[in-house]
């Protein structure tokens, strides 16, 4: 393959600021906005990239005082440096990743360093390390069937087996992640509820891995002593888990816990899980601010949202156990819901 070269250019501050100060300022604004943006929102990142391309064009019209090629070790160090602009005033080098590269020392006082990369430089092709193809996954079969393929097993039954086996292994302390994708939401929720109870189980934090490869926060299993029964004298609140997912539920609920517009975005599932978790945590705190609440969740089946919601429920119950009880309602038909197990802690 072609070789990637990186160059460090040095310009005078006066020339740089005369031609590029405005663009750099706008780039910095986009950079800071992107750092505060919600997970999955890359609007400002796109704007930042376009401004940086404009800066590259403008800088190519300036006379460079010095030009030095970065060593491979310097390129690798800058790659690992995290978010940073490709330019820096020489006075600010110590606060910039350029401080890690020896080539930056050629810049004097009152100068600007600027890095450019050329991925198509002609050079000896570096050969990739030889290796073995990752093995295909092993064949999973529900427990109790041995090598026999269970014929006639319904999909929901197979999912129940799969999810429970994952929870079982995680609760036993095996470093095997939970993979919630494709599991029916009632199976998902009831399984979590069962293993959230610490009766006869150790307290573990189970990894959560989604099919797109993204990993979310761990879910605590066995951390609480769960109770049954819904208190009648607590404030009763009925919410759909997500708005605009099942409008047929609208007449049965007081509102929605999460907004579909915020949750259903094009981003890795773990990011969606995190957004659902953070928003649910805030809302539970707000609901229970003035007294205990019995929350009835009328549930839609979006796995990252479910994991995020119930992770937040578990965390709230861990810190404030006597303020919240949650009852899940699974949609079975018009005005027909199946009640799930109550989430309430001692």
């Amino acid at each position: 393959m072609s070789v990637e070269h990186a160059w460090l250019l040095v310009f005078s501050v006066s020339a740089w600021e005369a031609g590029l100060s405005g663009a750099c300022r706008h780039a910095d604004i986009a950079f800071r906005r992107q750092q505060k943006a919600q997970l999955g929102d890359d609007t400002e990142a796109v704007r930042y990239a376009q401004i940086c391309e404009d800066i590259r064009v403008l800088s190519s019209q300036l006379p460079a005082l010095h030009r030095v090629r970065l060593a491979a070790a310097s390129i690798a160090a800058l790659d690992q440096a995290g978010p940073h602009h490709p330019w820096c005033l020489s006075e600010d080098v110590e606060r910039h990743p350029f401080a890690m590269v020896p080539e930056a020392r050629l810049a004097g006082h009152g100068q600007v360093l600027y890095e450019v990369r050329h991925p198509f430089a002609f050079g000896p092709t570096p050969s990739q390390e030889a290796g073995e193809l990752r093995e295909p996954s092993g064949t999973w079969r529900p427990g109790g069937y041995g090598d026999e393929v269970p014929r006639g097993m319904m999909r929901s039954e197979a999912q129940t087996h799969l999810w429970n086996e994952q929870l079982d292994r995680a609760a036993a302390g095996n470093d095997v992640p939970l993979v919630p994708d494709g599991i029916v939401n009632s199976v998902l929720t009831e399984g979590l509820r069962r293993y959230a109870d610490g009766e006869g189980r150790p307290n573990v934090r189970a990894r959560v891995l989604y099919r797109d490869g993204s990993e979310a926060r761990p879910v605590p299993l066995g951390a609480l002593r769960m109770l049954g029964g819904l208190p009648d004298d607590w404030l009763q609140l009925r919410l759909a888990s997500m708005s605009m997912r099942h409008p047929e539920m609208d007449t049965d609920v007081d509102g929605a816990l999460l907004r579909n517009r915020v949750i259903s975005r094009h981003r890795p599932s773990a990011d969606t899980d995190e957004v659902a978790y953070q928003q649910t945590l805030r809302r539970l705190a707000a609901f229970t601010k003035h007294g205990p609440v019995c929350l009835h969740i009328y549930q839609a089946g979006f796995e990252p949202a479910i994991l995020g919601i119930y992770r937040a429920v578990l965390e709230h119950l861990t810190h404030r156990p006597q303020t919240l009880a949650v009852c899940t309602h699974y949609y079975r038909g018009p005005e027909d819901y199946e009640a799930g197990t109550v989430w309430r802690a001692q």
């Binding site: 393959m1 796109v46 790659d79 990369r117 991925p119 193809l133």
Partner: protein
């Protein structure tokens, strides 16, 4: 086991247990590779890349089957960039600008190549659209050390240039920022194929001697947006 699936698997030389109600992951991998239908050179490169990088074969197949990357684009990225692994997973942090910039340059170059390959295969710009598969089989070969692709089997005039050129093959150097001092432009002069530099519509470039400039219809900003979308799709795709 659906009969049509079993029949197709037999045609591809994949033995399925037709009495079984399931397909094992190992067989699924074979079927996916067969369904992806990569050219032999791309297939070898993809498998070698998967073995060396730790990325799953299924991931590479998914990127092609879902249309995130075209075969020529994927072949180019795998051959010409040491950052292919990060790019196929959706690119690095957009705020680590130098690293992301290196990835975007390769990805935009690949995207321009994909557009050119599609264009020379169809080559019906001035004609009414005909609903028939009258694509010309234009083959490609990636020249790794040059960061270039040789297209062979061209039948019509080269698009996106003001010149009337009808070469049978071209050596295409896709670049965002061609440098007139680029060594490659002098080194490729020995090749019998016509050398062309493929750039975005708004690239400022002086046409080097002996080299034709093809201007992609899209400006750099549009190409960057397209690449950004592909990176985003790669991030949420199945691993």
């Amino acid at each position: 086991m659906p009969a049509t699936l079993a029949q197709w698997a037999r045609c591809e030389g994949i033995a399925l247990d037709e009495d079984s109600p399931s397909i094992t992951p190992a067989r699924a991998r074979e079927l996916l590779l067969a369904a992806t239908n990569m050219a032999p050179a791309l297939r070898d490169r993809a498998l070698s890349f998967a073995a060396g990088s730790g990325l799953s074969v299924e991931r590479v197949c998914y990127l092609l089957l879902s249309g995130i990357w075209k075969p020529i684009e994927l072949d180019f990225m795998l051959a010409c960039s040491p950052r292919a692994h990060d790019m196929l997973l959706g690119g690095s942090d957009a705020l680590n600008r130098p690293r992301r910039d290196a990835e975007e340059q390769v990805a935009v170059a690949a995207a321009m190549l994909g557009g050119l390959h599609q264009r020379v295969q169809n080559n019906a710009a001035d004609q009414p659209q005909v609903v028939e598969d009258d694509r010309q089989p234009v083959s490609w070969e990636v020249i790794e050390a040059l960061g270039a692709v040789k297209l062979s089997g061209l039948c019509d005039a080269l698009p996106w240039t003001g010149r009337a050129l009808c070469p049978e093959s071209v050596l295409v150097l896709p670049r965002l920022w061609p440098d007139s001092r680029d060594d490659m432009l002098t080194r490729v002069g020995d090749d019998a194929a016509q050398v062309v530099v493929l750039v975005p519509a708004d690239a400022e470039i002086d046409e080097p001697a002996g080299v034709v400039v093809l201007r992609h219809p899209d400006r750099l900003a549009a190409l960057l947006r397209s690449v950004g979308t592909r990176f985003a799709n790669s991030r949420v795709g199945r691993r």
